[in-house]
Amino acid sequence: MKSLRSPLGAVSGLGSAKGGAHHWWMQRLTSIALVPLTVWFTVSILSLPSLDHVTVVSWMAQSWTSLLLILLVLVATYHSQLGVRVVVEDYVHNSGMRTLTLVTLTFAHTLLAVAGVFAILKVAFGGAT
């Protein structure tokens, strides 16, 4: 079938990158997942009898706690990354500054995700005594 894009549009790289809905859809998926995850986390933390190291470690080292915490960290950092990205795209008008901010934020979110998962696994496997 003949493409509906004009030759000029094709040459200058304009038009759909076939990724138009991905950001939007991922933001919805992560927000649906975050409703139970964040509520679970908030209630769990507030229900702990104390926040001393022994109590926290014995809570965190349970399999289901570790698993849900890893999900929480990954989904929350992803959701946050998607959210701040839109804010930067909307309000940072200088294109160099915008790219720099987006790169920094992506790195920061990756670091947070990896550090969070690392910490949870370390506690889960008994490395935090």
């Binding site: 927000s31 409703v35 190291h53 959210g83 947070l112 690392f118």
Partner: protein, 143 residues
């Protein structure tokens, strides 16, 4: 030299309006407030992620590291942060659910959206009170 059509392309690219540009859309006041507050609370929660990961790393660091971090995390400054995080979390949660309902195509009429904005404010404030009470008063542990 660029052909006129390309120049026109570039010009329209530059002039493209981005999403919620405060100067472009005329919003009634409540929808503007709920929308911008959702963004602000989202940004606050992003900062909260740093606190969460710092705490997780401190737990993983062992008893001595944790004791030091716990001291910092129990300071008055951080209590203010927790208060801010509670406000942000409760609002962002309830407002986010409103967005998810909108995505199913429901509640988009002006009267409905005005009513749901009111519901979001009332429910999120109720949640803030419950969580604030639980954190700062009931347990008395202030962390």
């Amino acid at each position: 030299m660029r052909c006129p059509a390309t120049r026109m392309h570039l010009n329209t690219m530059r002039a493209r309006p981005l999403s919620p540009h405060l100067s472009v859309y005329r919003m009634t006041r409540y929808s503007l407030a709920t929308s911008i507050f959702n963004r602000i609370t989202g940004l606050i929660l992003s900062v909260g992620l740093i606190v969460l990961v710092y705490w997780l790393m401190a737990v993983a660091g062992g008893t001595r590291t944790y004791v030091r971090a716990h001291e910092i995390l129990s300071s008055g400054f951080f209590k203010l942060i927790y208060a801010g995080l509670i406000v942000a979390f409760c609002y962002h949660l309830v407002a986010g659910i409103r967005h998810l309902v909108w995505d199913t195509g429901r509640g988009l009429e002006r009267a409905q959206s005005k009513r749901s904005a009111g519901i979001v404010v009332v429910v999120s404030i109720a949640l803030m009170v419950i969580l604030g009470y639980w954190l700062f008063l009931a347990g008395g542990r202030g962390q």
